[in-house]
Structure formats: C-alpha cells, structure tokens
Amino acid sequence: MKIQLQVPVGLQIKAFYLFFLIHTVQVGSGIMGVSTHVYSQAKQDAWISIIVAGIWMSISVFCMSRILQQYESADLPGIQVDIFGRIIGKFLGTVAALYFFGFMITLLLNYIEVVQVFLFPTIPTWLVCFFLLSLVVYAVLGGIRVIVGVSFLFFVGTVWLLAVLYKPITLMEWNHFLPIMGTSYTDIIKGAYKSTYSLIGFEALLFVYPYVQNKQKAHLAAQQAVWGTTILTLAVVVITIGYFSGPQLERLIWPTLSMFKIIQFSFAERFDIIAVGLWMMVILPNMVTAMWLCTHTFKRIYGLRQKQVLYMLAALLFLGTILFQDRLQINYFTDMVATLGFYIAFVYPLVLLPIVLLKNYIRRKRGTSQ
C-alpha cells in the first residue's frame, strides 16, 4: 500500500468545507446527554470541564496537523505503515476502522432509542435501523464530495435549533453555578474526560487530509471546527445546568432533548416531538462520515473495493444493532467506544507526533551523512 494518497482534483474539497465535515461528525448523539455525564463528575463546574476538554482537543488537532505536514499528502493509515512498518501499521489502521464501525453502532443505537422513547414506542429497532442505513449507504455511494455536501446542508438545516433555546435561557438560575471552583481539580479533569464522547470525531482530519485542496488552510479550518463544537457544547452545558437543578439533571438521560419539552409555539404545542425528529438531521452526517471513514480505511489498508465493503458493513451494522436490546447494554457499549475514541482522538496524536518527528529527524540525518 502507498503511503502518500494522491487524490484527483475532481475529488478534492476546499478547506472551508472541512469545518462542516469535522463539526458535524462531532455533534451528534453525544451532545444529547453530555451535561448529565459531565455534571455527575464536575457538578456546577461542568462548564470548566468543557473548556478544558476544548483546549485539549485544540492541542490534539495541532499535533494532528503537524503530523500531516511532515508528509505531503498522506493519511493516518499511510503514516502508520510508514512509521511502524507493514504489519503493525496495518493492524493499527484496522483498529481505527473497527472503532469507526463501533462508533456508528453507538450512534444508531442511541438515536433509535430516542425515537422509541419520544416518538414511536412500538416501532421495531430493525425498521429505523433499515431506514437510516439505506440513507447512509446512498450518501456514501456518492463519495466524499456528497458527504461534505450532506454535512454542509444538514448543519445549516439544524443550527437554528439553537435559537429556540431562548425559552430555557429565560428560566435559568444563575446560582446553580455557584460556588465557582467548588469541585476539586481532579473532578473537573474527570468531567472533561466524560465529555469526550460528545467531542470525538475530529480524528476524521487524519483521514480526509489528502482530499483537501488548499492544505495550508486545513489546520485553521480544523481548529475552527473543534472550537465551534466546544462553544456549542459549552452553551448546551451552561443552559442545562442553569435550567435544571443539579440532582434533577443527574436523573435525566438526554437533558438536551428534555430541554426542548418546555418550548411551545401556538402552531406547534409539542416542539420536543419536532426536535427529536429533526435530530435525525444531526445524526445523519455523523453516520455518513463515520461510514465513509470506515469503508475508506478498509479500502486503503487491504485494497478492497469500497462499494463491496460498504454493503458488507451495512449488513453487519444492521445485524449488530438489532443484537442490542436494552439501555444497560447500550450504555456499556457506548462507554467502551467512548474510551477507545478518547485514546484515538485525544491521546494518540500526542504520542504519534514525537515518533513521527524523531523518525523524520533520523531519516534526514541519514540522508545527509550518505
């Protein structure tokens, strides 16, 4: 397999669209319940945890782009083969691909459960799963440019949901945030760790980098995307902490969606139903991008045809999703994927960067001595 990935101009995307790609793959099922997870650790200082996680994420993105800049036009599977050799490199690439597969299962499971709880209690899991997967397969068949288009359109199509949160904002109580720094530093860090499931996804940068046309701007776009996500998550966490009282927040599974229950218009009395339906537009770019990353990585590593991999994975996803039955299993599996995602997105780039730099240094030295 080649380390560098040369992409024809017709398939390239502008760095500007990288913002939407990375931002939409991050925002999805995690943000539905992020406040509860972070609050359980960091209490009223949960918002500090999000800022900490945001800074960490920014550092990680910086490391990623430094790694990528060492090569002209390579992606993570290629770099791993270059650094660790064929066998280990391919193994690590497979782990990443399997992680995206697991990520997709959690997305599907969590959203389907939301649909069953809020909208249609009797709808079978396999049916929603089939609907969503057929859309995902259809989009992924269109290739990267369609995926970027989906991300852009659905971002614009759902970002206005933020505006209807004015109602919970008016009902916020600011003394829920006091005393500031009342929790210990370790709890704030633990809270930051808990927030990572809603932030993972920006590792997509390592995979789509060869497709970016103006690569010098890719870093900036990625930083904008992760800070956009941080600010969005921060807003959601701040509003939910102010709107719900602490112990009440700890009992909720999806505080972000529960918050929509207070919104009422004269033409739509139960806005929460609309919001949950619209949430599909938030989840879909997530799944489409994850699916593309997964199939693309398999194609890169094993030289398989992406179409075949796509159909196979869709079938496996369908089977994998209907195996899960209840909330506890979903929670367990989501935690597992979140942990793996944490190491891949938040830790691995920080470890990989010194190794890449060292290897290049040695290579250059050898080159000059010869």
Binding site: T122, L127, N175, D272
Partner: protein, 374 residues
C-alpha cells in the same frame, strides 16, 4: 430505474409499520386528578376530549382505581371505547390526602413518560380532586379541564400565582435549599376557585398560604413586571390631608389599590454562621383607588404614602417569612443562597437550619402616578 421504483415502493409501504393513531379513536386526556384511598389505593379522575362527530359532548369523565398512575389509565381504558393518550395533559390535580403523604409517587410517571409535556400545571385540591373535576360550573369553557387550565394560566400570567409547571416543580423538588409551592383549588358554591397556595416540604403539603400573601413571596423571590395589590393603611395618619369626608368613620383603615407594580429584589446572606439575610426591595407602582378623599397632589402626602406602604410591606414580608419558618418550608430559596457559601450535602440539612434564619428587610417604594384625577 425499475430498481429505484421498487425500492421507493418498499420504503413507502414500510412507513405503514409505524404506529397509527386515528384521532376519532383517541381519548385525549387533558386533566387528571389523583386521590389517595385507604390502603394505598389511588383513585384517578380523568377528563378527556373526544373528537367523535356523533358524540353528544366534547369531553368525558372517568374515575378508576389502581395502585399506580399508569394502572389508573389502564383501568380507565376498560371503561371507555377510546384509546386514552396523555400527550395533551395540561393539568394534574392532587387530592389533599395524597398531597399530605407526598405526590412524588405519581409525579414520577409524569416526569418519566416522554409523552407528557413539561408545561403541565400542577395543583393541589383543598379536599378531593374528584370533587373539583366533577364540578359542572365552568363558565363558558368547553369542559371543566379547559376552565381550570385557563384560570391557572391567566393567573400565572397576571403574576398572581407562582409558575407551577411540572418542570418548575421538579426543579424545586430536586434543588438543594428550596421547596416547591403549588396553587390550591377549592370549591366555592360548587365552583372551583383559587384561594390558597400549598406550602410543600419536598413533595408533602404541610401548610397553606392565602393567594394574596403570595404577592410577598414573589416580591422576595423574583421581580414584578405588572403586579397589583390592595393594602389597608392606618387612616389616622392621613387625616390632616383629607379634602372632604366620605363618611366611613367606623373603618380605621384607608384602602389603597396599587397596580402596574414593578419591583426588584436583592437577597444576600450576611454571614453563613448567623444565618441572617439582608433583603433590599425597590418597588414602584401607580395608585388606582383610594377609599378616602386625599390631597394626592401634595408632595408630603405622596411621601407619607410611600413610607407607610413600605413599612406595611416590611411587616407583611416578616409575617410571611414567619409562616415559612413555622412550617419549615423554603419556597423562596434562602437555602440556595446559603448553598453558594456553604455547599449543602442533602435537603434535610437546610430544613434544620431553616427555622433559625432572620431576614432584615429594607423596602423602598415610589408612587409613579395616580390616575386621571387629582
């Protein structure tokens, strides 16, 4: 192309797998009342709308018994041809016996069921919820549920009742250092009216406060945008400023009605050890009625009115806080302010401290205008 049409047909047909709900076959519950019977049995009274063109009345009332709130609905389904759904539930009425034991037992399902709106109003009946929902005096409303709902909604908007939605109740119930407060429904000549507010310790009703005193509660806790209030000021003090006598000598008070009251309050904890709070209130309003003929254009009179009004509010606030202390309830959230300084571990902790608090009140009032006559 053929393939595409096939797939489209399948997709269209698959949408039929989704649960269908025909509005003619639904009984849309709008109000639900819960009463506690002997041995822990619950009696539920449901009012639901029916959209059947052949039916005589738009709504029906059903009473059923079970051990749980959802059990009541299942039992009620045995008594009606309609499929009962709770997506449009607007009002929950809890009987006083249940309220004294704790309403969280049935509130759990309202919070747990995603179909129930958070904007549902919670109320407590002074006696039985069933009696209130069975009343047939409902003015020109479509049914009793509609009447009760509009009455409560209007009074919340007019800043007479506290904001008592399901969300607010849960928020206050779970919050440290704060208790919920709910309006109470009473029957007067068979017509449901609002007379009292229920003071709650967590989810148990422990006392009552007249709705009129609720003004002072709101004055302390939040702000008024357009409130109104009737007060009786000592008549003796204003006697020198009377223009004429209106011949009501036997009353020793002069009644003044204020409206469009705007207020701001600031409640701070002086020291967490002594539990002494400092309350500053600024309030402005206009006079709409005076029972005596007063020289209102005289600045001295206005000043005197403002002072008397302020001292009356201070006294009233003191008495309201006294009621809270006696009942060991905290609907204002003194505990929340304490919690900022010294984080509370659990709700019970504040309840013990609650009876030792002291509030130093300082009220400033301003009379902005006094109608179209002098």
């Amino acid at each position: 192309m053929k393939k595409l049409i096939c797939i489209l047909c399948v997709l269209v047909l698959l949408t039929g797998c989704v649960e269908r709900k025909y509005i003619e076959r639904l009984g849309i519950i709008t109000v639900i009342g819960y009463d506690l019977l002997e041995e822990g049995f619950l009696e539920g009274t449901l009012i639901f709308f029916q959209f059947d063109p052949n039916a005589n009345s738009v709504s029906q009332i059903i009473t059923s018994r079970a051990n749980s709130a959802k059990g009541i609905r299942q039992d009620a389904n045995l008594k009606s041809s309609k499929q009962l759904v709770s997506g449009q539930l607007r009002l929950a009425v809890f009987g006083s016996q249940l309220a004294e034991k704790g309403i969280m037992r049935v509130t759990d399902t309202l919070a747990r069921d995603a179909a129930v709106s958070d904007l549902l109003y919670m109320t407590i009946a002074e006696e039985d919820a069933k009696a209130i929902l069975s009343s047939n005096k409902m003015e020109d409303a479509a049914d009793i549920g509609n009447y009760l709902n509009s009455m409560i909604e209007k009074n919340i908007q007019n800043e007479v009742l506290p904001y008592s939605t399901l969300h607010q109740f849960q928020h206050d119930y779970y919050d440290l250092g704060r208790d919920p407060i709910l309006p109470m429904l009473n029957l007067e000549d068979g017509k449901p009216v609002l007379r009292h507010l229920a003071l709650m310790q967590d989810d148990r009703m422990v006392g009552k406060l007249p709705v009129k005193k609720g003004f002072y509660l709101k004055l302390i806790e939040s702000r008024f945008e357009a409130g109104h209030l009737e007060v009786g000021l000592p008549r003796e003090k204003f006697k020198p400023y009377f223009k004429s006598n209106r011949n009501h000598e036997e009353i020793d008070q002069m009644f003044v009605t204020f409206d469009e009251i705007k207020s701001k309050s600031q409640l701070v904890l002086n020291s967490p050890d002594s539990l002494s709070f400092n309350l500053d209130i600024t309030l402005e309003g206009r006079i709409l009625e005076i029972s005596d003929d007063l020289k209102i254009q005289d600045p001295k009179v206005v000043k005197l009115l403002e002072e008397e009004f302020a001292s009356l509010i201070e006294d009233e606030i003191k008495s309201v806080v006294e009621v809270f202390k006696e009942n060991q309830v905290d609907p204002i959230g003194f505990g929340q302010i304490y919690n900022k300084e010294r984080p509370l571990k659990e709700k019970g902790e504040w309840r013990k401290l609650m009876s030792d608090i002291s509030v130093d009140t300082n009220v400033k009032t301003r009379i902005v205008r006094h109608g179209i006559i002098k």
